[in-house]
């Protein structure tokens, strides 16, 4: 791929920083602010683009592991049972080989998320106390891993008040510590 994506993003940043931003009149602070935000987005995109598929696949794997765990744990009345059956059917229908683009993998994550949501709502209507407690713990564990991934992914936005404990991008993407799939398997 020539010119490659990094090359083009960096050229965009350079043009913005060295030509366009200095040409913005000082009284047009809105344009200056927008240009600064563009530059920030471009720099973040440059750090992210090459890992986007790996990141999205990791998010899918985590949602898949959560869905499988909740389906296994589900106990309760008719609403919980029905939601668990629906989630089970969706899990059984997933493709054996994942699609190869970020958006198509994200679509699968979303469809699993919808079914997980239904099971959560059902559990609060007629789930057994044991299921609700186990579900809560599972979602907190999943959330911890998925949030750490997401906060790492967007670390460069400077909006996170506590980035000290976050892993590097490489660790987040490759270490089993940030895979709910590995963690839930171990339990």
């Amino acid at each position: 791929m020539l010119p490659d994506i990094s090359n083009r993003i960096n050229n965009l940043s350079k043009a913005l920083e060295t030509v366009i931003m200095p040409a913005i009149p000082t009284e047009n602070s809105f344009a200056a602010e927008q240009a600064a935000l563009m530059l920030g987005h471009l720099k973040m995109l440059d750090q992210q683009w090459d890992f986007a598929y790996l990141y999205e696949k990791g998010s899918f794997d985590n949602m898949l592991a959560l869905a499988a765990r909740l389906e296994q744990l589900a106990l309760g009345g008719s609403e919980s049972k029905a939601a668990a059956v629906q989630l089970g059917a969706l899990l059984a229908s997933l493709p054996e080989i994942l699609p190869l683009t970020v958006n198509t993998v994200n679509d699968l994550t979303k469809s699993l998320g919808v079914a997980v949501d239904k099971l959560i709502v059902a559990a609060y209507k007629d789930g057994s106390a044991e299921f609700k407690a186990a579900m809560l713990n599972s979602i907190l564990d999943y959330n911890h891993i998925q949030c750490t991934r997401e906060r790492t992914w967007f670390k460069a936005n400077n909006l996170d008040p506590d980035v000290r404990g976050l892993p590097s991008m490489d660790e987040m993407l490759n270490s089993k510590e940030f895979s709910y799939f590995s963690v839930s398997d171990a339990k």
Partner: protein
């Protein structure tokens, strides 16, 4: 919670806010939104003031204000036959959609009711439906002052993360005093606030009104499901605390939302009343205590809103107000506020940016990327609650 109570509690949502969310859905289809030019603003203002009965109108110096992630704001000078000379005003307008959807009419009602008792901007007029301005808008008097010290570096776009330096000592007592006074304000009993609902005292309504509003926002703007958001909604419903006496809460009382004079450090105005409603005072405290709005000082101590240590803030609030802060209720509202922020970031901000329906698409998309910070905060709070969590 039994089914009947659950059904009733689901209906607790302020009618004006139901209308505002429905209106947002309709307006979102008119996009993409193009930021207004100064010429367009000048023209719409003229139309509005003519309709208000003013004559010999001259509008000048229209200037867009930067920052602000929810409303489009402009400074301008107005001259008309009833004025001795030009006066400065601020126009605050709704884009087609933004990180939060609120009501200019409610904001105007409240600012009028608070005038004279609190440092708030004076209302000139409101175009609640945007019949003349093109978008719903509110015009207030210009107030002098700054939102952050002009001499300090490292400031952010929305004011979040600002540090006050030596001004902290001057501002902190005023910041607390105004908050305490707001929570004890009884002027609402005689004020015209037809678009507000006062939750019943000694019930859980104060919390449930908020849970329902933000749950409805999430359902309307949801881009993709987030298990933690759904779980938290259920938890908030099951654990809604009783509020003995609802009071006015600002709900965005924080760094960046007040102005002060330099070098005196005197607070001149409290800004951004759009999220204000009647609820539990713990809701304001929990909002103010969020890590996102604070900073760490040179000694590594966390400062609430960059102003004072958490324990000092809590003890001083209790001393000045005579109220008792209940740790479990405070924690409930910390969860609710973090959830509300997650809803704003992960649904409203993202969808507005996707549909290019905001004047600051780049900024709201940037802010949206902080959603996980709030999910992480909820998780930490629920783990502390774990024995009672489910």
């Amino acid at each position: 919670m039994d089914t009947k109570i659950a059904e009733i509690s689901n209906m607790l949502i302020e009618p004006r806010m139901v209308y505002i969310l429905e209106r947002k859905l309709r307006r979102s289809k008119f996009g993409p939104y193009k930021p207004k030019t100064t010429a367009e603003i000048e023209q719409s203002l003229k139309q509005l003031f003519e309709a208000e009965g003013m004559s010999e109108i001259a509008i000048s110096g229209v200037k867009r204000m930067t920052g602000g992630a929810s409303k489009e704001q402009f400074l301008f000078q107005l001259q008309h036959s009833g004025l001795d000379g030009p006066q400065g005003y601020v126009l605050r307008m709704d884009p087609l959609e933004g990180i939060v959807e609120t009501c200019r009419l409610r904001e105007a009602e409240l600012l009028r009711a608070l005038a004279g008792s609190f440092p708030v901007p004076e209302i000139l007029t409101v175009d609640a439906e945007g019949d003349l301005l093109g978008s719903p808008g509110l015009i207030t008097g210009f107030v002098s002052g700054v939102t952050k010290p002009t001499s300090l570096e490292g400031q952010s776009v929305s004011g979040i993360g600002s540090s006050y330096g030596h001004y902290a000592e001057l501002i902190a007592p005023q910041f607390l005093n105004i908050l305490v006074k707001l929570h004890s304000w009884q002027g609402w009993r005689n004020a015209a606030l037809p678009n507000y609902v006062i939750p019943k005292g000694n019930t859980a309504e104060a919390a449930l009104y908020q849970v329902n509003l933000w749950a409805q926002t999430w359902r309307q703007d949801c881009v993709e499901p987030v298990p933690m958001v759904t779980l938290t909604e259920q938890w908030l419903r099951e654990n809604a605390p009783v509020c003995e006496e609802p009071c006015l809460v600002h709900c965005d009382y924080r760094v960046g939302n007040f102005m002060f004079e330099e070098p005196s450090g005197e607070i001149t105005t409290i800004l951004d009343w759009e999220l204000a409603h009647f609820g539990d005072f713990h809701e304001d405290l929990a909002w103010i205590l969020q890590k996102l709005f604070g900073t760490w000082n040179a000694q590594g101590q966390f400062l609430v809103c960059g102003l004072m240590e958490r324990e000092k803030f809590i003890s001083e609030y209790q001393r000045l107000s005579g109220r008792e802060i209940k740790p479990d209720v405070l924690r409930y509202y910390e969860v609710l506020n973090a959830w509300k922020c997650a809803v704003m970031d992960l649904s409203s901000a993202i969808i507005a940016g996707q549909r290019a329906n905001n004047h600051q698409d780049l900024l709201i998309t940037w802010l949206g990327s902080a959603g996980a910070v709030f999910l992480d905060q909820i998780e930490m709070l629920l783990r502390e609650e774990l024995p009672n969590a489910a």
